[in-house]
Amino acid sequence: MRNTVNYFLISPALLISILIVFIPGLLTVIVAFTDWNGVSTTPNFVGVQNFNELFVDSIFWKALLNNAKWTLMFVTVPIVIGLLTAMMLLKRKKSKSAYQLIFLFPYILAPTTNAILWLNIIFNPVSGVIGYLQEIGIPIDSPLSSVDTALYAVASVDIWHYWGFLTVVYLAALRQTPAEQIEAAYLEGCNGWQIFRYVYFPSIRPTFNIMFVMIIIFSFLTFDYVYLLTGGGPSHSTEMLSTYAYTFAFSAFQVGKAAAIALFMSFFGLLASCLYIWMSRNDLKN
């Protein structure tokens, strides 16, 4: 009986997800093996041709590498900043809410506006902040215009807009750490790092794990900021799987190939999921 009730409780989330995301997603898998152009009524099955073409396409490999680099940056920088600021806010009873709001500002502003801000005002060597720095004698150029630095510049902007989100999530989890454990640790004379390491961190571990894996998954799906800031350029130096897929789907009328790329995006997300299952294997055992 209890079991039935529990299945009933979980069914809304599952049904919504399966009907709207999973089944259409499965259709995408089929599309990846066709030459569908997005509008025709008679796509042909072409087997693994889309994949074969991708494997010999240097831009595809470059995009894959860029996604990997992107992931590395995202599982380090914003997580560290997020944890640090969340820990610091934990002790601030009064200013907590104000700081959270401030940190969230870049996250709640429309991506289009953030893109205009960074593209035309900050990274602008003619009249913007970069231009001003050049004027006062600092030899600096727009990092977006060089094939060597563009990826890092785009990632910085995305991280700048994103870390406040992590602060809020981590803070909410930290606040649930049982107070008596913290008190006990203080009484035993633990220092700040030890308290974080042995009390807070174990307590937020489930949240930490899920966010960690989510960041990896989203790093392979990342789209907005790259599309808005560089469109994948210069010379594909910031091309991502998602931007490349978007070009195929909506500019080149090759939806089949775009779907094939999407499968790769999902594949790496799946690898990350396995990592999650492994990391939380103890929590999941019945």
């Binding site: 025709s40 060597p125 003619v126 094939v147 808005l228 350029g233 594909h236 909506f250 080149a252 009328f253």
Partner: protein, 448 residues
């Protein structure tokens, strides 16, 4: 606290119910049938112009239908997803003739032959543009406006520096060298935030350095894209880029908006760009400055060719949704957009985007402001040139979609990530594939 929450929830529920009542049927409150068109995002002043010249006028002309335009930042994606399910707007706005082919072949857009006959479009519209809108001999799309890449120049800068208007490429290069020496930009332009800007330069070098005839041969398959003339043209583009002829090191740092501002601020003599740039000029070439802005066709490499010579393109295409319930009305609206009157009225407040491709274009510049006048004259000159067959091709208009994507990579040659030959080999492979699939639009032939 709780009361407030209850209050909030109540307000929300009321809104939900209200929204539930407003149904989304396709008629207006007073029973008119709605005809829809989707357009790119547009700033308020442009939306206002379209409302005045197209929407209000049409809606007042009859009382059965109401035209509505939706402005969409992602119109390409929205239209392709909607059309693929047999939905979408009545009037289909597209990115160029080559994008129309898959839609036409899938039966998503309407064959316009009967309307062409009814309204006499074939006689009115420039032959190469009309032809480019056909698929297997039938008309499927109309170009809304001519577009060409040429030289915008600041007349005052040329005068102040005693530079004559350049008639040849050598003269152009000489002026640019001198400009660089004086600490100016040789020219301004840039693809910041919108990579497809590159197509203007791939097209420019194909048309004016390789020549329209050579590109015609490549497009029709009688020569390869790896032809030495074409490779040469692309190598020249890389030379130009490296010499700083394309905005120095700021090509990736400037938008068209910013580039026009620099031109207006006398930081450069030239801006090589598409005629649609006139749209942004109003902000920077304001007031008295408006008369400083000039536009000329780009010189050709071996100027034995008949000049002025134009890269032929359209800014967008208009078609009719095959599922539309009001095709006749939609065609009627398209017809009003293919007239001298429409061109003149739109251009008055929105120069740059509505150079209607009419054979017998008659511009009426009497009550146009300076920039609109200049744009109208540019288009008039272009029509004359195209009628004589003096044209090359915009890659975004005449190349099939996937091949066009490779042409956008011209910057990889400039950044030395690839050689011209490598890029053109890639183009040839993709072009052959797409040609086999029938994705190359009809190619109008330039005169010898």
């Amino acid at each position: 606290m709780k009361k407030k929450l209850v209050g909030l929830v109540t307000i929300f529920l009321v809104m939900v119910i209200f929204a539930g009542c407003s149904n989304d049927s396709k008629t207006t409150a007073d029973g008119k049938e709605i005809i829809t068109m989707w357009f790119w995002g547009a700033p308020p002043e442009h939306q206002e112009t379209l409302k005045k010249v197209l929407i209000d006028k049409y809606n007042k002309s009859q009382n059965e239908y109401e035209l509505k335009i939706e402005y969409r930042n992602s119109v390409d994606k929205d239209i392709s997803v909607a059309l693929s399910s047999g939905k979408g707007p009545d009037i289909v706005y597209g990115s160029g003739p080559s994008f129309v082919i898959p839609l036409a072949e899938a039966g998503r857009i309407e064959n316009l032959d009967k309307y062409a006959e009814k309204y006499g479009w074939k006689d009115r519209i420039l032959d190469p543009i009309y032809e480019s809108g056909t698929v297997n001999g039938s008309l499927y799309s109309l170009g809304n406006s001519l577009n060409t890449v040429g030289i915008f120049y600041n007349k005052k800068v040329l005068k102040d520096n005693n530079w004559p208007e350049p008639k040849t490429i050598e003269e152009l290069e000489k002026i640019m060298d001198e400009a660089i020496e004086k600490g100016m930009y040789a020219s301004v332009t840039g693809n910041k935030g919108w990579k497809p800007v590159n197509e203007n330069y791939s097209s420019l070098f194909l048309t004016h350095f390789a020549g329209g005839e050579k590109v015609y041969e490549a497009l029709t398959g009688t020569t390869k894209w790896t032809d030495p003339t074409i490779i040469d043209a692309l190598d020249t583009s890389a030379d130009w880029y490296k010499k700083g002829y394309l905005a120095g090191k700021d090509y990736t740092n400037l938008t068209f908006n910013e580039a026009t501002q620099l031109l207006a601020d006398e930081k450069a003599p030239f801006f090589f760009g598409p005629s649609l740039v006139y749209q942004f000029a109003a902000q920077s070439f304001s007031g008295d400055k408006a008369k400083d802005l000039g536009f000329m066709a780009f010189p050709t490499k071996d100027h034995e060719t008949n000049e002025p010579y134009y890269t032929l393109g359209v800014t967008a295409t208009l078609s009719i949704n095959a599922q539309s319930k009001h095709k006749d009305e939609a065609a009627k609206i398209l017809d009003t957009m293919m007239t001298n009157e429409f061109m003149n009225e739109m251009t008055k407040t929105w120069p740059g985007y509505w150079g209607v491709p009419l054979k017998g274009l008659q511009i009426d510049t009497s009550d146009m402001p300076e920039l609109s006048k200049a744009y109208a004259e540019t288009i008039k000159n272009m029509v004359d040139g195209v009628n004589k067959g003096h044209f090359g091709y915009y890659s975004g208009v005449f190349l099939p979609p996937a091949t066009q994507q490779i042409f956008l990579d011209i910057e990889s040659i400039w950044n030395e990530q690839m050689t011209s030959t490598e890029l053109m080999k890639k183009v040839q492979v993709e072009f052959d594939k797409e040609k086999e699939k029938g994705l190359v639009p009809p190619i109008p032939k330039p005169s010898e």
